[in-house]
Symmetry: C2
Subunit: 239 residues, 2 copies
């Protein structure tokens, strides 16, 4: 039986786009159904977790059969709200902003960039693959008039909060933030911050962790061989 409208944990939500990606691949390959066990082998979550996750939203499977790949794909897409259209604006049309905006348009039909905003006069009036670059001064009116849903923030960290404030004020419902700062938004606005450098720093940590573990391993192997072989290492000249 389906759960009521209990709060879904963030861990579950983060896994949904991944389920969806694998379902797209399966569908492409012509696979029509999949059991939680086979899905587990593919995606790397336990079968239990997969069933548990999906049952937060409904009874999508069928006992003795499994899950319909196409059916589940559609369900998850709907849960994520990917059956809807989103009108977006980009704020900050530098390298990163331009790349992110193009990326967002390419990955999913439902996300449309309507305009980009800049303060730099030399950029204003230009365009990105047909998307006009407008004066940042005009953003509030534009967002209101064009019923913009999402703002992509790609400005410097010092300016990000004021951009978020303007977007929220003008009626945006979501903010995809790439500035390296933690923003505050009204609770009716959804916020997703992508701190790219944090992920690079986590990578550095893991690299060093592996390095340390390898060094310890070597150390251990050395002392062990020192105990077992008489003629090794420092003991060499003692015999």
């Amino acid at each position: 039986m389906r759960r009521k409208n209990a709060k879904i944990s963030n861990a579950v939500i983060r896994r949904l786009p991944r389920y969806r990606r694998y379902l797209i691949e399966l569908d492409k390959k012509g696979v029509e159904k999949i059991s939680s066990k086979d899905f587990s082998n593919l995606i790397g979550y336990t079968a239990s977790q997969i069933r548990q996750d999906l049952n937060n939203f409904g009874d999508f499977g069928q006992q003795g059969y499994g899950y319909s790949v196409e059916g589940l794909y559609k369900e998850i897409s709907a849960i994520l709200g990917l059956d809807k259209e989103y009108r977006m604006v980009l704020i900050g049309a530098g390298n990163l902003g331009q790349a992110i905006a193009k990326y967002a348009m390419n990955i999913n039909r439902g996300f449309k960039i309507c305009a980009a905003f800049e303060i730099k006069p030399e950029l204003i009036g230009g365009n990105l693959e047909g998307v006009p670059i407008l004066d940042y001064e005009t953003i509030v009116d534009y967002v209101e008039d064009n019923e913009i849903d999402i703002g992509i923030i790609c400005v410097n960290r010092g300016n990000a909060q004021e951009v978020a404030d303007k977007l929220s004020f003008a009626g945006a419902k979501g903010i995809w933030n790439f500035a390296l700062t933690d923003l505050e938004v009204p609770k009716h606005v959804a916020l997703e911050s992508v701190h790219l450098s944090d992920t690079l720093h986590a990578l550095a940590y893991h690299m060093n962790d592996i390095k340390k573990a390898e060094a310890q391993e070597k150390e251990k192997a050395k002392s062990k061989s020192g105990q077992t072989k008489k003629d090794s290492g420092k003991e060499k000249n003692n015999t």
Copy 2:
């Protein structure tokens, strides 16, 4: 007393870059010390969690005083391995790749892009702010000869695994992956995948979640007012 070399949970590691960011800000403001309580108010983790997290790595605080901002910043930087230098290559010099590479160079002195690799002939031979764009065919030799630590993968998802294989084979110790696929790497190679579209999808989920909650709220308010006020809504014509 300091913990031995127990495995640090991933949740802790993800918080470290954030602690570090706030410490940089505090240091810039001239703040010299901070208690876990004050830090908690600032960063939004509980004081308990902050002390618990830091004690995974050492006794950085002082009873009755708190933590030295500069000292803690240095400790965390060292834990993350940010006191070292990293030599990087970019694979895939499209919009996103170029933007990510420039971003990585700007955020931290320690990360240096040595070269970019491409298969498109029209890009090979060019350069990105002084970084040469080389033929992808030559990547293995380059990574070996130049002791490259990290590869940034910004190619299409279909080609990402083979790039990861080449990088691992050539001796890279870390991979920062932006291709929309889950890579397999040898266990001596650290992998950090940034699935940008997954974060956009999570944003869409949260936007819809807020929308649903608001609709329910409205529904509840309506039925409530229907009970209390005689002349409201559907009941209007009944009097």
